[in-house]
Amino acid sequence: MRGFYAFIKKEFLEQIRTFRLWILLAVAVLFGMMSPLMAKLMPEILSSMNMEGMVIQIPEPTVYDAYTQFFKNFTQMGTLVILLIFGGTLSGELSKGTLINLLAKGLPRRTVLLSKYVAAVIIWTVAYALAFVTNYGYTVYLFPETDVKNLFFSLFCLWIFVCFVISLIMLSSTIAPGSFGGLILSAGALVVMLMVSIIPKAEKFNPITLASVNVALLEGTKSVSGLTLTVSITILLILGSLIASILIFEKKKL
């Protein structure tokens, strides 16, 4: 257990000193702020443009537009940023050889893997929470009506999806060689899932659904109970990826 804490501390120090933590937090605040602002201002920007007498009918923006922006930013750019920030966390160390000294002291390999995962999830959670709080503040300030349905479950769906992406990075890093192996393979896996998500029948079984139903949940057109299977599958996939990555890592040639 001491090895676990020691290594998690090292992970945080690394994220701080290599400025990755600050980049992530800055991006989070930016998304949180921009989403409601864009939703609010977009119609005004559009209507301020002189369209030579053409009249564009733009409905008054609602809180749903703000959340649509928020979730869109996070599922696309957010996932990309997470991939870039954590994609090399294990691959980089393996290709550079920085783990050798510590593993040679008897630090169990599963401890390395799990503490990396936990550290990444903590950092993601903090960034996400920060983004949401910022977003919420602006939303309440800018929109008169802020009542939406299933807000926390909707947030949870995206949260668990990114936790799944991080577990995918761990698994990919133990399989693919090179300092970008983890990043490339997990990005590839996500692209495949994205392509599969076109098939309606597969929707229930695809974790990527959790990153696309968020606004539908707020609007009430999707129900929580309709997603329990997807959430359960995603949690199982996270556990499966972690177990598989530990098993592979424990027998990896270094």
Binding site: F7, G97, I100, N101, A104, G106, L107, K253
Partner: protein, 305 residues
């Protein structure tokens, strides 16, 4: 007790056979010099001891416990200095040693004590810069500090002196000699004078096997043939001389280096006369006649070269 034991270990990379039925053991509190030329398989052997590479055959034991490939419990007894140690560049040496101490399960006070002991010992006292800015030699020194930190029962050093200046080399060898009282050391090198300085026993790795094994004095006496060094006038035809000398059956080897001729033979006291006689007869000016001390280098060249 045997701290390290290898039994019939073999390893191949594809078709390249690197280690072939290798067996040896290292007793407690001794320094074992692991010698071999580039690509002989020294690093490969060490990585197998650490579970980083799988042995194709055979068994390795550390303190009697079997090493398993991959994650191996036996590593808790080991301190390892890799041939090119890699660190977290954003840490200071102290921070790095604290991480190492925590990982080895030392308590806080012990880590501070050991750090205060080791940093001056390896010559990094008061260096508070980030490791990123370290030179190769400084990294090597920090590598030795981290390997010794947890007071391991077995210290494995892969060419610990290779990146160091002569003063640094002496310092590190002194540190290793001191550490011998508390640990067992296996270190690889091709600097044979280092070996003579601190090793109790050595093994020479050649074509996957230990071709020579034993204590340093024992090996020097039983393997080394005598070497006579002759310095001749600069205008002499050394090639011609060498060719003619090779006719004598007691000479096993001749090495020419400018106007120095090293002649390896079985019994210099008895046959030295014959050689001098040859030079007198040919009227070749001899500037210097010298009987060289037996050295590991000669043994190495003889068995490996």
């Amino acid at each position: 007790m045997e701290i390290l034991e290898l039994k019939n270990v073999s390893k191949r990379f594809g078709t390249l056979e690197v280690i072939n039925d290798l067996s040896f053991s290292v007793p407690e509190h001794s320094v074992f010099g692991f010698i071999g030329k580039n690509g002989a398989g020294k690093t490969t052997t060490m990585k197998m001891i650490l579970g980083f590479l799988a042995a194709d055959q055979g068994e390795i034991r550390v303190l009697g416990e079997k090493v398993s490939y991959g994650n191996t419990k036996t590593n808790r007894h080991i301190g390892y200095l890799p041939d090119v140690p890699e660190f977290y560049g954003y840490m200071s040496p102290r921070e790095y040693l604290r991480l190492c101490g925590e990982v080895s399960g030392l308590n806080k006070d012990r880590i501070v004590d050991r750090t205060n002991e080791l940093l001056p010992l390896v010559g990094l006292d008061g260096v508070n810069r980030r490791i990123r800015s370290f030179s190769r030699g400084m990294k090597q020194r920090l590598g030795i500090a981290q390997a010794l930190l947890g007071e391991p029962k077995l210290l494995i050093c892969d060419e610990p002196t290779s990146a160091l200046d002569p003063v640094g080399r002496k310092e590190i060898l002194d540190i290793l000699s001191l550490a011998k009282a508390r640990t067992t050391i296996i270190f690889s090198t091709h600097i044979l004078s280092d070996v003579e300085r601190i090793c109790d026993s050595i093994g020479m790795l050649h074509q996957g096997k230990l071709v020579v094994q034993g204590s340093v004095t024992e090996i020097k006496n039983s393997y080394s043939t005598d070497v006579i060094r002759l310095e001749v006038g600069a205008e002499c035809q050394t090639d011609q001389i060498s060719k003619e000398l090779k006719q004598m059956n007691f000479i096993s080897r001749i090495v020419i280096n400018e106007n120095k001729i090293d002649i390896q033979m079985t019994n210099a006291e008895q046959y030295g006369m014959n050689i001098l006689a040859y030079f007198v007869e040919k009227k070749i000016p001899v500037l210097k006649y010298e009987l060289l001390e037996p050295s590991l280098e000669n043994v190495f060249l003889e068995v490996v070269g």
